[in-house]
Symmetry: C2
Subunit: 182 residues, 2 copies
């Protein structure tokens, strides 16, 4: 779980630690961090680097000027964001295996207020990890939760009567599914 | 546009060329190609490597045994698939700039049978290329079209009366948006 002094299960706190971690991640000393540099610094509970998808997603969430990089100020926000997700993941990883299995994911979503069918939970795991198909890592968990949050928000905006069913036109549907809700 | 003998605007044909290209791409000589190896061999019309997203998507489409790699047989199918998309892209890239601009994308989708609003076409470009926001490259085009095909198919399955509007429940909606239609 640890990597060159950074253990995501023991989040660092305080500005100096953020600064130290930033300097460590910023391999080329450019004062900016890109997705590749972030990826090289983050190891999930299965001993693998965070996925391209997770790193690209997280950089783009905090990259306000769309340069594909983040500076130290944006990095501090990202750092806190990742630590929040790690705490959340850790709480749901009840057997402390470094992965979330089906029953743990089911309990996690229930606690977040979702009532998903067992079949759907299984779909989420297979989709997140098409290779193993039985468990998801912390980076897969972050990607999954961020997407679910986003799509749930888009659905709720259209579910004005809160029936759990919406009527939606093709272009609107496509816009949401493609990630550009309009 | 060209890369070490491979010019995607002049698609190779015949098995020997596929074999030669496979050997060239398979840097570690494993007899299998992964997304990283594919990425190193494909250059878009803007002189950049195909994106991670495009390469991962294309490998996973042809990786039937879910190893994250494809063999020569799967590669031949992928090779033909990419060439089909390149021909398609070339036909829509009317000014032969190596990119598709807004008016060209609008014409492309009209020819594919879609009637998207100008605003939506603009969304598609900004979403595909958040940095430039004015044009899309061939790898961005492939990713966009594959996703639109998939989501259109899911929508049509539910639009049984062909009204262009569907009623959809939360979990079903989420399943499609997350890419695992159920």
């Amino acid at each position: 779980m640890a990597y060159q002094g950074y253990n995501p299960y023991q989040p660092a706190t305080g500005n100096s630690q953020v600064q130290n971690f930033f300097t460590h991640v910023d391999k080329d000393g450019s004062g900016k961090i890109n997705a590749q540099e972030l990826q090289q610094a983050l190891i999930n509970g299965q001993g693998q680097q965070f996925s391209d998808t997770a790193c690209n997603m997280m950089i783009s969430m905090f990259d306000q000027d769309r340069t594909g990089t983040i500076d130290i100020t944006e990095f501090e926000r990202l750092f806190n964001y990742i630590n929040s997700w790690l705490s959340c993941f850790k709480a749901f990883d009840r057997d402390n295996s470094g992965s979330i299995e089906e029953s743990e994911l089911s309990a996690a979503f229930q606690q977040m207020g979702f009532r998903f069918s067992q079949q759907f939970i299984n779909f989420l795991i297979v989709m997140s990890d098409p290779k193993e198909r039985t468990r998801i890592s912390v980076d897969q968990f972050i990607v999954l939760c961020v997407k679910i949050q986003k799509f749930t928000e888009a659905f709720k905006q259209r579910d004005t009567e809160m029936t759990g069913v919406i009527k939606i036109a093709f272009e609107d549907f496509l816009g949401i599914a493609l990630g550009c809700s309009n």
